[in-house]
């Protein structure tokens, strides 16, 4: 957590302490509005990032390749932007800068990918290949059973499993991904209730209908 975030959290918690007031029955009450204020303010932190992310661990070429893969793994669609817009590659690069072990997985995997493209095509790397050839390559390494037929794909399949899982992690922990999922929590409410329509929806589709 950054220093700034720490500082503002301290302020917010002080605010909570102040708003814990004595209610009519001598109860200490944190009003939902005050608690909501805290949640919302914490959420606004850090979103103010300055400029596009500059890779810390990967080369410009590696990073651009990873961005392309991210866009293919979780594309934009009619409902929401995809992993490219959510800067999934930035999260992956950051972890490569934090762990040599992670960096080896990505530098090695991306090199494998370029090498495999060159051998299977007209000599170009992954990034310079046509979209059709890029997806044709992913179609090979995105499915474990392909390994039975193409033993030389094992390293690529392994790499893609890493990249795909971490792109998924990066996307769904980003503001864009959280919105795409429709997560509505991390908030403060005075009472907890479950909407009847959600219960009815599930029961109707269950063996208990």
């Amino acid at each position: 957590m950054s220093e700034d975030l720490e500082y503002s959290r301290r302020e917010l918690l002080r605010h909570i302490a102040i708003s814990l007031s004595l209610g009519a029955a001598g109860e200490r009450v944190l009003t939902a509005r005050d608690a909501q204020h805290v949640h919302a303010a914490v959420a606004q932190e850090e979103s103010a990032q300055n400029g596009p992310y500059q890779p810390k661990a990967l080369t410009g070429h590696e990073y651009a390749t990873l961005q392309r893969i991210a866009g293919l793994v979780l594309p934009a669609d009619e409902r929401s932007p995809g992993a490219l817009a959510a800067n999934a590659a930035a999260f992956l690069d950051f972890l490569c800068s934090a762990s040599d072990e992670m960096k080896r997985i990505y530098t090695g995997g991306l090199e494998w990918l370029d090498d495999a493209m060159r051998h299977r095509g007209n000599g170009g790397d992954f990034l310079s290949a046509s979209p059709e050839r890029q997806t044709a390559m992913l179609d090979l390494i995105a499915f474990r059973e392909n390994q039975a037929e193409h033993a030389d794909l094992a390293a690529g399949i392994d790499f893609f499993a890493w990249a795909r899982q971490m792109i998924v992690d990066a996307y769904y922990t980003s503001p864009i991904g959280i919105k795409e999922l429709g997560y509505m929590g991390n908030t403060a409410v005075a009472h907890f209730s479950v909407p009847q329509e959600a219960i009815d929806y599930a029961v109707k589709r269950s063996p208990f209908a």
Binding site: E27, E101, F192
Partner: protein, 566 residues
Amino acid sequence: MQINRSPQVFDVVVVGSGAGGGTAVKVLTDQGMSVALLEAGPMLNPARDFKEHVWPYQVDHRGAGAHAELYFGRQQWGFFAAPVGYWEIPDEPYTVAQGDQWRWFRSRIIGGRTNHYGRISLRFSDYDFQPEDGLSDAWPVTYDEMAPWYDKAEGFIGVTGTREGLRTAPDGNFLPSIAPRVHEVLIQKSCRKLGIPCIPSRMAMLTKSINGRAACHYCGQCGRGCISASAFSSSQAMIFPAMKTGKLTMITGAMARELIAGGSGKVTAVSYVDKATRTEKQVRCKAVVVAASACESARLLLNSKSVRFPGGIGNGSGMVGRNLTDSVGYALGGYVPALANLPRHNSDGIDGMHVYVPWWLLDDKKKSFPRGYHIELGGGFHMPQIGSFHGVCARVQGYGKQLKDQIREQYGAAVSLSGRGEMIPNKNSWCEIDPVKVDAWGIPVLRFHFQWSGNEINQVRHMHDTFTAILETMGGRVGGGRPDPKTAGISEGGAIIHEAGTVRMGSDPKSSALNKYCQSHEVKNLFVCDAAPFVSQPDKNVTLSIVAFAWRASEYLAEEMRKGNV
């Protein structure tokens, strides 16, 4: 070596600040006693230490760890959780006998594990104290004797629940319960069909403001530590208020080394290593409450050797370190198609389950294992975290829009069932002082021996079949394959973090270390107030009982001190 000795003689030194130590501190300072609290970790500052409400994207590594530990299976605990605790502490190792398996989780912070624990708060039943099958020894107390102490414990920490009249889940002094989530409604229907009870959960979160603590605001992040102290922790609910009384002296970063016995055979001081300066210090006292967690408490007693106590202080029975138990754990998850694309809503509520399954086969004499278990439930729309969709990634191959659609469809449609069952104490499960190894403070470490018996393995098989039935009755598809037939998928010893039994109580000083007030049979001013005194490991998580027993022991200690008996 010159030893720095406290000039003040405290009425009581308490070792450890978790559920037991916190309760002792609260009760003893309320009674006007002067108390010094030793804690091996630092002071807790909730504003700084708790990560409640932080979104994953507000942290560079989003919870994977500063060195991506999560991805390599090296993370000690979830980044956002609040334990300040570890499976491995480099300076404080332990050993495990060859061929055995044991993991030992320790928190090092004011409040101990209560800052993050699950807060499931279940009373032990009458038959837990007085087992009818003869497979483990009777406790020196009955349920009826303990009931008023459970009332006090619940009244203070705050426990949700409903009165059900079940012998396997004794009713208590409850706060209002909380509505079941959608998946919990389905599980309740499934259980009803199978003849299994599924009742509102009993959790130490405030659905109503009590004792100066604000009511819950239902963000579901209790495991991160609760800034409004609406989820119980000994740090916020017991120790911080006690600090304001002027009766409590905090000594943090203090690793207890030895209880020093004087000429009278009583404890006169506690020796500890001040971690910051690596110097030994002593704090003098009239009585001591050891509440360092079951295994640390046993270690401290065993390491307190003298001519009078050659096997460790208070260990004339040889029982210190013996009868080590943990809860039996088994989990099964599944995907429930009825929940696919569930209309979105906020299902955070209180952390963990809103309903649970208490043991229901007490009178079934035909089953293949003794005692029982309860079932904890998981599911709902959680704040997405690193790893939230690793399960989907394992099930679904490929990429692109179809992957995105599948993740959206399956979000909130996974449920999990976790069994927590009773382990019968056995002679192969215990701990002792390692003959060779010492920690960074020069204190001899524990060596563990641990083995499950066939009782526990059979119990886990029963859990698997029951969980499968519950999931399939609601149309769910069980995830994962059938577990290894030999272990049946049972948890590793220690992994459920419910260690107990290592300084057990009893009526007979020859077969127990403590009397029914958690007082040493041999050393009248020595009390043990964590789960170490527990004679058995009922299928009801230990924390509420730790508070109840520590409360009773502390009031007894105060009374005995007033009478001059200690």
